[in-house]
Symmetry: C2
Subunit: 345 residues, 2 copies
Amino acid sequence: MAQQRARAVTQRGLAELAGVSVATVSRVLGSPPDQRHRWAAPETVRTILALAEDHGYTRNPHAASLRTARSNLVGVMVPRLQDFVLATIYEGIEEAAMENGINTYVMNSLDDTALQRTRTRAMIDRRVDGLIFGDAHLDDTFLDELREQGVPLVLTSRRREGHVSVTCDDYLGGRLVAEHLLELGRTDVVVLAGLEFASTAYDRTRGLIDRLAEAGVEVPENHLIYRGFDTAAGRQAMGEILEAGIRPNAVFATNDFAAIGALGVLQDHGFSVPNDVALIGYNDTPLAESVGIPMTTIRSKMHLMGREALLTLLALIAGKEVSSQKLEPELIVRASSAVSVRGTR
Amino acid sequence: MAQQRARAVTQRGLAELAGVSVATVSRVLGSPPDQRHRWAAPETVRTILALAEDHGYTRNPHAASLRTARSNLVGVMVPRLQDFVLATIYEGIEEAAMENGINTYVMNSLDDTALQRTRTRAMIDRRVDGLIFGDAHLDDTFLDELREQGVPLVLTSRRREGHVSVTCDDYLGGRLVAEHLLELGRTDVVVLAGLEFASTAYDRTRGLIDRLAEAGVEVPENHLIYRGFDTAAGRQAMGEILEAGIRPNAVFATNDFAAIGALGVLQDHGFSVPNDVALIGYNDTPLAESVGIPMTTIRSKMHLMGREALLTLLALIAGKEVSSQKLEPELIVRASSAVSVRGTR
DNA sequence: GAAGTCTACGAAATCGATTGCCGTAAACGA
DNA sequence: TCGTTTACGGCAATCGATTTCGTAGACTTC
């Protein structure tokens, strides 16, 4: 039989050993180092700290949460962790959470509104202090209802009118792509836009369209196709476009993975990238650089986004005034659009 | 000011409303439906259930955990959720957990032994009932120490001698690749093996080598290179191999992403895949099929692996006898190795 | 030197749920 | 008829930490 896990010491145990009351132990152990002396004599503080150390004391979070009605837990809902982008944002969240003594639950909603609801409920039932959503839908009021109920929440990756969010300035990202295309003179563009209910898809597309319009270029309705953000969706969308007889000289995918899927299809059909078709992705995931033809893309600060989202949520929980934040995107030009009359940089 | 979140009802509240004691409420609400009548009259049961429903009662898990010393929480440690494989395994874990009323914490250890320790500690401090590790190292005794302390734990993805694990039969996977190469007559193989301390890398490589040895083929020491599992590592490894003047007619990467990285490098150097070099990956991630040249790979049951890992952990926590499990791998032949004298597959 | 002001703690009430131990009745067995 | 189950459910102790009152003594202050 394996050695039984030693019964953990509690504050009561430490109190008895130190000859003080649990109240004192609680106060000493619960205060930040520079505040401890406010509660006990230096000698007492030292004794308690030493005992805690020796006996490997760790606070029982359930007991603490029961008393304080504060769990130091936040829930994170993402469409899918398989998505590199969300996994990276989550890393940022996790990092900032650890730094602040917070733990996180993550769940995949698969962008399914039913799952979104049941899993959010599961988190609330677990008494999280607040929630971060990476799967906001433009066309669903679930989040509004939640806020009505007074649940502290912050959005990230995708925004939604009326909610605090930390996102990439996707509209600007779209504009950057448009400007790049204008410079290249490749304005007969097809947009593999992602999912219609995601603000990322919407804003990136809108930014592109608006900027092109300012230059007098119209993007026809049938050049926009919404199929999803992953590789399979990119293949699908690109395939449909070609099948419809559309022959663009540029393709903008609102996600690198979709772009990679599109790349495969384009090559299968004998199109050269970038000579026949310039290809641009979004997010600057590692694959963008490593795939056969290094891909032009928009770099977004995913990790930072996660960090800021968590920090914002913490501020919100603390009752502070918080506001939305848009992180700046950056255009990264690579071979997949290296067709400019200027050098290939 | 947003509407204040209504103070949640507690069992005490329900008890008062129903005119019974909290003990009865607790028993009725805590028993499985078919056991409820053992504790209260049908009428009472109905009243309590109705009141709970009406007032949206949800059990306070902190209070319950405090009392029972059981949290219904399990911790999951993965090297990195950015890795599609681990993200998928986690989805399986999450799914099975939800079905069993269990919640999960996930954390990234980044395969850093220090992070591994501190984050595991953070989970234990949170009083998880058990842990699943997806980042076991062959050369580190951390997990052994943990088990000594009586912490219930199960490994997945990677195994480690002396621990219960749910993995893919990686050794067999390696053998399958070897057999495929023997059939193709492409036995001058380079192995981009991944990380040396990971059993996945070790077993897949060993399986390949052993099977080739049985056929009288030796894999020279310098044809094995350990650089990591991701795309960047694949690029790096492949680059070094070529720089060393090695010119294999087949490359086996123990991970699809590394394979994709290698593919890029091979093409950059003017090698044709599969004509000059056959390329084989591992895991059958969606990208394997979608990337320029559809890739031969080994399919592993990642989602199922996660499910089984969780179920195994639950059994372990329940005090049952559990044993390791190896899921069967399957060879998926695609264009990247379609060079057989037989038809293309 | 009387009245504040600190300092350093302690007592005890909570937080919400679980559970072992009992008590009371009605039903049952022989 | 009387002892024994069985059904139904209350009492009260706990789990471990936090926090509101207090209090006793030391120190100031005018």
